[in-house]
Amino acid sequence: MRTLKFILFVFCLSIACPAQAIDKAAVEKLALGEADERSAAIAALLAEGDPRTAALLQAVSEGDMQTAGKRVLIVKGEQATDAVSGEAVSPLPEGREDVVANNRLRREIEGALAAFKLLSPERTARLEAAKALAGGADAAMLPLVKKALEKETDPDIKPLLELTASSMEMKSGDKETRLAAIRRLGESNSPNSRTLLAEAVTDADEDIRIAAQKSLLAVQGKLAWGERAGLLFAGISLGSILLLAALGLAITYGLMGVINMAHGELIMIGAYTTYVVQVLFRKTNFFDWYLLLAVPASFIVAAAVGMVLERVVIRWLYGRPLETLLATWGISLMLIQSVRTLFGAANVQVENPAFMSGGIQAFAGVVLPWSRIGIIVFAALVLFLIYLLLTKTRLGLFVRGVTQNREMAACVGVHTGRVDMWAFGLGSGIAGLAGCALSQIGNVGPDLGQSYIVDSFMVVVFGGVGQLAGTVYAAMTLGFANKFLEAVSGAVIAKIVVLVFIIFFIQRRPQGLFAVKGRSVEA
């Protein structure tokens, strides 16, 4: 869309000032030359920075450029303009030939067009172009970038351009230019400049090596903070995801002692509920608000499924944990298959609402996605609500009473069966909320739950069964541990190390982080 607008704009410009001709030789080379000549021509045209160049290049890549003898034309349908002068040509000359662009040329043109956007009057377009170029640009675009840099005043775009220019100059042959570029890179704080400098450190020239080393240290110092902050955020983010996944289990397993292997599938059901709500909202104008309905819906659907399971299967197995484990595993298999039957085996797409997409740039090189921030806030909110529910309401009082002393609670008139059902429903509902949250950051598929079940149990067991606070600490600890190890050893090894750590930790301290020492631990 933006590209189109821009081209239109350039096109208007070109019509507005047809008198000014662009480099004739370059245009001719572009149309008629050999491969290398054509590349050089693009560079030359870019260096001029003539606004009409964009339209010209666009025409080449779209196959609108034709030649008639030595004359280069841009032909749109029945209308033609002279590529050099910009004047309309009529009638169309005979014996025209198409200018064929191969893939290499197309790629070069694409890059050049992107660079051209640097001259766009729209700030967002320029910013986008600057970002694209900062990722790695062809040295041929240096003149254009410099030209843009002269005009640029925006504080967000200018540093990016400077960085790009420096990195281009780094590759140039002139030693002085390179040294200057290296010094400038030392003042930046982007991971790209670190990569560039790290390369330069091994350069053949000693002066360059020394300068690069100095700049590299400076950049690394600045980046380290950003990275630490990024790691911290990643840790909190993973911790809150683990917390959401494990909170429901902390209630059903931790408080009630029901070992529910279908917990992961309740998460999955929450995610699919979100998906369905999202599909329904797609037809309306309120798409961005679908989460408002999806959150309660995923809670209610998962809670309902959980309550049905509790009444139909689980309640017959209280006090027989190993049997509960097997039966609930059976339930999980059936739930997975039902979802496959209903929605297909492939993953479904859950789109974020607009306010959840994108992110904020908090530090150099660190972007915090809104969806992750949203989940952290959501997890905190859910935790707070559960805390209130368990400590301030009658249901919470009953749940705690029943889990501590079933007979006594029954004696004082609590319907223990009903409390079991509601408590299990609550735990399942929270699993549904976790699913809703997870749908915002990852794939939603029938196997979603399977990947969380081991993690959830590890969190609850690590934190200490029956301890809500323990679950929170455990989730956060594991989130951090995972992310920090990941930075050192890669994701899979990190996960394995964490699992093995928990396995040994539990053997050292079977009660978990937060132990309740008491006489009734063992029967």
């Binding site: 020492k517 008491g518 006489r519 063992e522």
Partner: protein
């Protein structure tokens, strides 16, 4: 008895107590000194000091939460004391051994709720409890000798289950289960028997016979009986220890204890 303890020493440390034989030269079989145990700030035992003589039958009474069960847990190694020392004889420091090792050294324990092997026959229950080499590879090839069979038969007679040798233990009546558990303790040939509410749920007749059994055991073994049934205690007790809030409140004969003003206050309230 000392011979047996030596035998286990000989067989090496694999799972067994590796100490010299039980040394009771001072006539004391169990000595607890200043034992304290707390659970989350609640003091279950508070500087408890108690000693049991060889061949003694001691009754321990006290209100709920006085620390009777915790005391047994400490002696048998199920709970570790936070402070204080527990010695079996003169030399065996109980804090250093596991439940199995303590049991093998000669302390048998009966639980409040009868715990027997419900899916084994009466005979097998006694066979499993019998004093023998209890290491893995020995049990793989163990065959009962005729002497051992006789001993099992003898114990079955003693606990009046000689007609039910092949009955599955889970099918016994509650009282019979209590007796079977006592029989299992006897098969272990312990020096010290800890009995937690042994007559709970028994009929008067069974209670009577249990009392007789205990009196006949005293002398050969040392017994510590924890019981709420005061009539039963009165019948068998020679010396009584009253526990209260984790420490000894009073100790002495039934008459002494009953007239102790502290005991009266605790039991009758002020």
């Amino acid at each position: 008895m000392t011979d047996n303890a030596n035998a286990s020493n000989e067989s090496g440390g694999f799972g067994h107590i590796a100490t010299e034989g039980l040394d009771t030269t001072h006539g004391v079989v169990l000595y607890l000194e200043d034992i304290s145990v707390s659970f989350d700030g609640f003091k279950a035992l508070n500087k408890l000091t108690l000693s049991i003589d060889v061949g003694e039958l001691r009754c321990v009474i006290g209100p709920n939460g006085a620390g009777k069960t915790t005391m047994m847990d400490v002696i048998t190694g199920k709970t570790r004391a936070d402070e204080g020392s527990a010695f079996f004889g003169q030399t065996i420091d109980l804090a250093r051994y596991s439940e199995a090792e303590i049991a093998h050294a000669g302390i048998g324990r009966k639980f409040q709720k009868p715990t027997i092997f419900e899916y084994h026959s009466v005979f097998e229950n006694l066979e499993l409890a019998m004093k023998a080499d209890k290491r893995v590879r020995k049990t793989l090839v163990s065959v009962l000798s005729s002497g051992e069979k006789d001993r099992i038969a003898e114990t079955m007679k003693q606990i009046r289950l000689n007609d039910s040798a092949d009955r599955i233990a889970g099918l016994l009546s509650h009282g019979q289960k209590q007796w079977l558990e006592i029989g299992m303790l006897l098969m272990q040939e312990p020096r010290l028997l800890l009995l937690d509410e042994p007559v709970a749920g028994m009929s008067d007749d069974e209670t009577e016979r249990t009392g007789e059994l205990f009196l006949s055991l005293a002398g050969k073994h040392s017994l510590v009986v924890v019981e709420h049934d005061m009539a039963f205690v009165e019948k068998i007790a020679r010396k009584i220890t009253v526990l209260h809030e984790g420490s000894v409140l009073a100790e002495g004969s039934m008459a002494q204890v009953q007239n102790d003003p502290k005991v009266i206050e605790v039991y009758l309230g002020r």
